[in-house]
Symmetry: C2
Subunit: 199 residues, 2 copies
């Protein structure tokens, strides 16, 4: 150990990074406690993070940009499929739908839904989180068509909704108590691949 | 016309029916204005309907039973398919998913979602609305298997989720702005029937 007359610098990342993290965490905590994205204010976030409003405005132009970064942090990066087979990649991607590592997401995400339809800016915020995930799924389907694993005439956007919808309605509202979310990804992918029409 | 010395009876349905309707309407109005099913009280409903609490308890054992009837009234009866072809029946049923005649439903239903996962009684309430609709869909699929239109080995519960999920996520949160809900039912049904795997 070394002794010094100056106050020790806190270890690790620079102070501006720690302030940004505290601001993101404060935003997510307030949302998880029931603040709506409509009602949450930069003032409240600053107070909760223990920083001044100027610290927030130095990094984000406004509330929506901060919410965007906070929700992206909450959701994490879209999963990266292994790229060996379309079936395997689809099961990986479907399994990640609505799966949240951060427990605050289960409180925040369903409550966003009524708001995104009311407000175009909030809808844009929601889409900025969802579209990168859709893009990964779309690319796996396109690759499957190129490689001849999937029909050339398949309806890509509808197939994405068929893969996503069942997991979202199960994870968000447990739509059908007889469906187990752990086995659902493989069951959905296999049924989507095969179709239901007789022979 | 007959004249009488007594006060005229109001025309139409008996008073008890009109009171019940006013109670249902008051419940739906309060929910549409933002009351949660957690917070809404029999007192508030009685006050809004202009009746005493005893009038409510004469007809319903408690709040949950009243909410059940109010939500069933809101959603209406499940649609009845024509029964000519599986494809046509599925398009009818998928088109009805998340479609609400009563504009209050668009305000009430999405806000129920965060609550149904928190509270087993509210989940039971939600399921009592959803299961009759699932039952109609399930019966069309079973009929399709019996008649040889659909594969005998199809995964019925998963197929129901594949048919329902896309419409619900589009109607409730406009999940993908590139999907038009008016053409989605036929596109979903055709893709579910055919499957996506290459010939």
């Amino acid at each position: 150990m070394t002794s010094t007359a100056e106050a020790p610098r806190p270890p690790g990342r620079p102070r501006s990074v720690r302030a940004a993290e505290a601001i993101i965490e404060a935003t997510l905590d307030l949302l998880a406690e029931g603040s709506t994205i409509e009602a949450i204010s930069v003032e409240a976030i600053a107070a909760r993070a223990g920083v001044g409003k100027a610290t927030i405005y130095r990094r984000w132009p406004g509330k929506d940009a901060l919410l965007h970064d906070a929700l992206r942090t909450l959701k994490g990066s879209p999963p990266q499929p292994a790229g060996r087979s379309v079936r395997e990649d689809l099961i990986t991607l479907v399994g990640a739908i609505g799966h949240n590592v951060d427990p605050r997401a289960a409180k925040i995400m369903p409550c966003l839904v009524p708001e995104v339809k009311r407000n175009p800016e909030h809808y844009a915020l929601y889409q900025s989180i969802v579209e990168p995930r859709r893009a990964v799924l779309r690319e796996v389907l396109r690759r499957g068509i190129r490689d001849g694993e999937l029909r050339a005439d398949l309806d890509i956007e509808v197939t994405m909704a068929m893969l996503t919808g069942p997991m979202l309605i199960q994870r968000v509202m447990n739509w059908n108590p007889d469906l187990d979310v752990t086995t659902l990804p493989a069951r959905v992918v296999d049924q989507v691949l095969t179709g239901i029409r007789a022979g």
